[in-house]
Symmetry: D2
Subunit: 485 residues, 4 copies
Amino acid sequence: MDQEISTNPFADDKLHEECGIFGIWGKPDAAAFVALGLHALQHRGQEASGIVTCSGGQFHMERREGLVGDQFSVGGPIDKLKGQNAIGHVRYSTTGGSLNRNIQPFFADVANGGIAIAHNGNLTNAVAIRHRLVRQGSIFYSTSDTECIVHLVATSTYGPIVDRLVDALKQVEGAYSLVALTQKKLIGVRDPLGVRPLVIGKVDGAYVLASETCALDIIAADYVRDVEPGELVVISDEGIKSYKPFPPQRQRFCIFEYVYFARPDSIIENLGVYEVRKAIGAELAREAPVEADMVVPVPDSGVPGAIGYAEASKIPFELGIIRNHYVGRTFIEPSDHIRNLGVKLKHNANRARLKGKRVVLVDDSIVRGTTSKKIIKMVRDAGAAEVHMRIASPPTTDSCFYGVDTPEKKNLLAANYTIAEMCRFVGADSLHFVTINGLYRALRQSRRDGKTTRYCDACFTGDYPTALTDRDSETDNGQLSLLAV
Amino acid sequence: MDQEISTNPFADDKLHEECGIFGIWGKPDAAAFVALGLHALQHRGQEASGIVTCSGGQFHMERREGLVGDQFSVGGPIDKLKGQNAIGHVRYSTTGGSLNRNIQPFFADVANGGIAIAHNGNLTNAVAIRHRLVRQGSIFYSTSDTECIVHLVATSTYGPIVDRLVDALKQVEGAYSLVALTQKKLIGVRDPLGVRPLVIGKVDGAYVLASETCALDIIAADYVRDVEPGELVVISDEGIKSYKPFPPQRQRFCIFEYVYFARPDSIIENLGVYEVRKAIGAELAREAPVEADMVVPVPDSGVPGAIGYAEASKIPFELGIIRNHYVGRTFIEPSDHIRNLGVKLKHNANRARLKGKRVVLVDDSIVRGTTSKKIIKMVRDAGAAEVHMRIASPPTTDSCFYGVDTPEKKNLLAANYTIAEMCRFVGADSLHFVTINGLYRALRQSRRDGKTTRYCDACFTGDYPTALTDRDSETDNGQLSLLAV
Amino acid sequence: MDQEISTNPFADDKLHEECGIFGIWGKPDAAAFVALGLHALQHRGQEASGIVTCSGGQFHMERREGLVGDQFSVGGPIDKLKGQNAIGHVRYSTTGGSLNRNIQPFFADVANGGIAIAHNGNLTNAVAIRHRLVRQGSIFYSTSDTECIVHLVATSTYGPIVDRLVDALKQVEGAYSLVALTQKKLIGVRDPLGVRPLVIGKVDGAYVLASETCALDIIAADYVRDVEPGELVVISDEGIKSYKPFPPQRQRFCIFEYVYFARPDSIIENLGVYEVRKAIGAELAREAPVEADMVVPVPDSGVPGAIGYAEASKIPFELGIIRNHYVGRTFIEPSDHIRNLGVKLKHNANRARLKGKRVVLVDDSIVRGTTSKKIIKMVRDAGAAEVHMRIASPPTTDSCFYGVDTPEKKNLLAANYTIAEMCRFVGADSLHFVTINGLYRALRQSRRDGKTTRYCDACFTGDYPTALTDRDSETDNGQLSLLAV
Amino acid sequence: MDQEISTNPFADDKLHEECGIFGIWGKPDAAAFVALGLHALQHRGQEASGIVTCSGGQFHMERREGLVGDQFSVGGPIDKLKGQNAIGHVRYSTTGGSLNRNIQPFFADVANGGIAIAHNGNLTNAVAIRHRLVRQGSIFYSTSDTECIVHLVATSTYGPIVDRLVDALKQVEGAYSLVALTQKKLIGVRDPLGVRPLVIGKVDGAYVLASETCALDIIAADYVRDVEPGELVVISDEGIKSYKPFPPQRQRFCIFEYVYFARPDSIIENLGVYEVRKAIGAELAREAPVEADMVVPVPDSGVPGAIGYAEASKIPFELGIIRNHYVGRTFIEPSDHIRNLGVKLKHNANRARLKGKRVVLVDDSIVRGTTSKKIIKMVRDAGAAEVHMRIASPPTTDSCFYGVDTPEKKNLLAANYTIAEMCRFVGADSLHFVTINGLYRALRQSRRDGKTTRYCDACFTGDYPTALTDRDSETDNGQLSLLAV
């Protein structure tokens, strides 16, 4: 169980959402509103962002690596993004080097006009579709699955662009929430399972689409409703229209959005994310009580669960670990000399508070376990007498294929070890993951029923709600592009 | 009382510490250790940072704008910073444009060798000294008060460099903690009042100097002791020596370091900063109790006080406001259109939790009051029934002249309005600042006694512990440099 | 005839070749050789350059704005361009803003592998083809005509990639010399008219393709022969094969390559370019002799013609105008105040030499006439007694559609004015353009015969050797992309 | 005689002038005029440039690495440089790394106001002065000799700034032409020997100072006169005043300015530089005639000499070598593989012209001989039957200490070898340098007389007109700064 201890600030041993999307129709300075919305969605992707506007039939696009707030400034790219209609995208990616070609939105001139598309999710048959399209003469410019949708739109035999988009989406499998911009319309769609979120808002009469409600709040837009699973909404100067072009299916919303991805101030399908996380913490307190002096969150994601645990257990909540928020992108790759110190760039123990104390440590999840191991060691080095680890999600045993950057199964700690083994690996005095039923209870369900669950919880159960064509393909899916990144 | 509502992410209505300093002697890869230490001190200054090393009699300097973690990377500037001895500095500044000339450390070749100096604090007779030095032929390259010290060292008639430094410091008034590096020595000094912090640590036999203990923790250095007020320590290959070259005075440590500047995980003069802040929160609960449903911190600085208030009042602690940590440096300067929305780039209300609730809002201080006003409005817009503001410091009525970026007195809300007026201005249902005696109680004193206090609390009391020569000068101190920045 | 006097260093009133191409097969460090070759072809395009290599079945691409020598350095992009096979492109463009999408080579994954293409020339039916391809579902990523070729290759129903390329080229009209790189082959083609040059060289057994022989010289490659009009050569590890897939046509090589585009040290179809230019100068001396004290070239392009004129007329050749070679890319956009001075960033008169003298001024061509006007004024201001302008090409009366950046006909001075009017406009004492027959004589022809000429001289005669489908299209060809640059 | 063959484009085996200076008083948009003037002086320094303006008592400074035309643009730094009075500087330097601290002009606040200084030349007692000043407490920020002058002004005991400047200059040895800007005055000075040039011009009533007349031409300023050796001119709103504060000495103007440094279109002390160079070529033809087919210049510096040689010898002048002007700053550091090809980035042979011909090759000077060797080989490889090298200066046997970047004597080819040995080294059929008397004849003197010569020709004769205090110092002058660049 010897695993490398990295000081890379981004090797943070978390699952990462791969995207956030935003669109607005009929608002002067639309690009600035999109930039604000993307800023509020930055937790869904920090690597790169892009905005496309349309004005007078002409599209404008700016795509940049880095944070929205650093890249999109008035006086800078925002000024080039003319128009009252716009969409945008933030992207997380682990890929190094020049990502330029993969930054969304993607744009295409197609037979009836232009279309820009921004996508949150992941297609599970993208490789198969790509190979078919290349054989037919489509030229791919990125390695992104989203580009398949664009080519399917371009090569569709339907006329109107909405029909083309529906035609395209009927050919794909997997998860997608997407926003699309044409010269006449702003379109929002969620896949039939509704794996990824997408909400509708309104500000001063202008419609807004966003991954989460926190992106409505920042521009003072009112929340209207969630786009429904399998729904396609078309926003234009005539207002909003709803379509249900796909055969109906049981909804399977990503349960991990509640556990970790979504911002705690967002409200998803009428449940406050913060409330759910506190409730999980309370479940943990009930499922795995322990005598202790304080409940300490691993900041920032463990905070709501820790508050819930503390409230339910009557053990004081304390900031026993302090987070440094100034971690830069390119911090020193330390020499061996320094690496051995086990440097922690993001966290430090609050020694004055921890010394001699019995600590309940609350975190949202364990992926590889490397960070948990370092943090527990840090808490012990600061003098804690006992460290009891409580995890606000069930063991992560399976990879996600729906738009989350997950390690392969062989690198998931919980896929390979028992809880007792994991407890020894991370060095805790006790370790408990909330049960799957505890998680459902926090979501105000009595328990999980695989036949009726309305959540995708495949990362905890292996119960994938769609086909996984590319994964299961017997042919070698090979490299997606002959052109190296 | 109409004040401009800005969305500039840095117009955050906080006082700002102007510097953090760090030094290390006799450690291979010294610059990498300094970079780590400065990273841990980044809360003391985010604008720019610099590191100077000395190796084989030759000094190496790199000074950069931006975060340490972005600017100082192995493979980059760190590699040029050869040597086992190094000092560094992080700097906060509101000045726009090219700051290059003001970034510390400052370096000079003087008669007996080279010296680099990094300074935290502010001199109150720097203008007078500068004018004198210019008349004598010294050429200033920055507008920084620190450069006075360098010129006083260079023009000193003493021989040995430590004697020159002491000679220089005897001529300055004000606050300084500083670290200096020569070819043979690492020097640390605190002014006779000990206004700014400076601690000594040790790692693998190598001595370390740092503004706060959190910078020792990150490199796994042991805390040895605080440098004493008026003490000068000289570290060399022969070990550490202590000098007390100044007439003894009553210590006056900056009380605001406990209130806001220092990191909560630091321990200053044997008091944990987090503990003090919690204790202030408890004082507030006792001084100004209120019936409410929850205690909500203004994140992040209000969190320890809110925990203390909640614990003392038995009112639940809740994250009613969520902070976005991805605020870039150069965010959109919004158009009027957007400005009127009162966009909040850093904070969002947790609507699901706040709706219909009576809220105790805890923040560390009120400077101009603009942010408090926006946040209270945001909390009310999210549906809060009542908002009771509790401030974990007394009213800030006076400017600081000791190294803190404070508005002029005319812009300090508390200098111009009664608490009732301030309450109306920020829009709270009630407003209470901890009393000055409450603050001293949190510091484990029975009450404040102006004759014996060991703290500088001038920002709350106007009781300045030093002469303010430049402020009180009748001559026009004019512009510090004829060369525009 | 009032025309704006610009000081933009690039408003140099010259026609500009739009591209240079280079390829090499079977040479270690192929990318470095391409960089050297492109450097020697930099006069054919200074705006941007790109290199594609192929190694182990994988392609590598780097495309940059700026000079080859600034952008492609060992230790930089060259190091990423692995492989022994490579092609490259330099590009001239007047378009402002981000040209990124238009920088060549273009690359595509097609059914049977990858292909990269670099193109010199211009297609005259690109808009028509593009509209057809978009209707069929091809997505264009640039506004370049070259991308049509790539999509025609991708959508071809033929199998082998050479067959696909031939299929594609049979559908296009206009001028092209191109190099293409696949995993197994380096391909070179010239259009059936052979409008643009392309030569074959060999260095240490490795084959080279280049726009001009000067690019062979820099890598010490031997000149083998010109690729013939309508010829396609395929270079692979098996050697070189020649194909003639197009119906044969009379060759029409661009005569302006001899006049201005090609480097004087290049040899095109067995004629040294410098020799031709000197011969034009001698023709001018015979056609339009004048009594004068010196022959002065407008540097640098007028130098060989002036040497030829001086030699034939026995009038001394003198550097009466000095060129400043340090003109940066982004020089001051002068205030009105300065503009009125008629500032000349590139040229200055040699006052000491010109004063009181009768001057024959030799330049290669007159496009808009603005630069000639400024230069003649400058020479007169320096004291010249008489200025006789001699132009080493016939009047430029018609636009080029074959890869040269020409103003519209309405902006061509010679299309709108008589020679006498032009003489008054530029302010010369006399003005003579070499006759079209004089130009042909310099090329060792007796005279121009429109029925047999082997040159494209449409810019002087309006005799276009191909259809101009896009120009003549009755449909609105509209904007090439809905996405603004 | 094995010497390394480099392809570094800047290892061009030329001596390099180290600076050009320019100043203007009383002209709106003064900075833009300075930028234009510096552009015209760019041949005197391409590494970095700086401009200082003064407006309303406040100085503004911008200093940049790179070409003036790339760095100083309206809309960019020029806009910050407010005011009607300005000076500027261009700088050549071989030093790598961050030169920032050495870029001129230098600025200082001194007792009576501000002063900015830009300097062309070199002081021969700078190290001695620097050591004295450091001992007195002056802090140096650069390694430039010019900073000595600034400190001597600052520490002068005189009052008025002109008196301080004279006081300073009386303490220095060596060569200087300098321009200085105060709030009330523009000052120009040449050292008593007048080694470096400086001229006075006038445009629309505003006075101008510039290193060469070509910088007057670009802004359409009229040439007034040269500043005299030992003269100090003070320009203010009251007009121009002349002072002669130094004891008179025989003038010793740098003869190499005529040979190579100055632009051919400049007129220095009433002699056109182009005329002098042609006359040297004619001297060469008389001193070393040869039967040949053509005279070929090594471009660009050999061109006037070649024209003069051709005219005198009646042998045709031909462009047998073509120069590529697009050499970037950072071209590929070639792999060994490529280095062995002897790649020539700047020059190519005109094969069609050279084949089988007897060539007289004219260049301005030989320093190390490496470039000559490569060029002669290139000409031979292109088929030349004979190559006769003619050099338009006497053998360069001694280093310059007056502002020219010269190799140490041991690296000067002519200091170590006979002409016959040099001829063999460069591989010529014959080699002749113009005699020292031939050079003086070209300057319209009968011959050189060491007792009366008005030129500094030390690089050819070793006859240095000043003391060389630093060179001759017995003490170790050591490193100029303990701070590494």
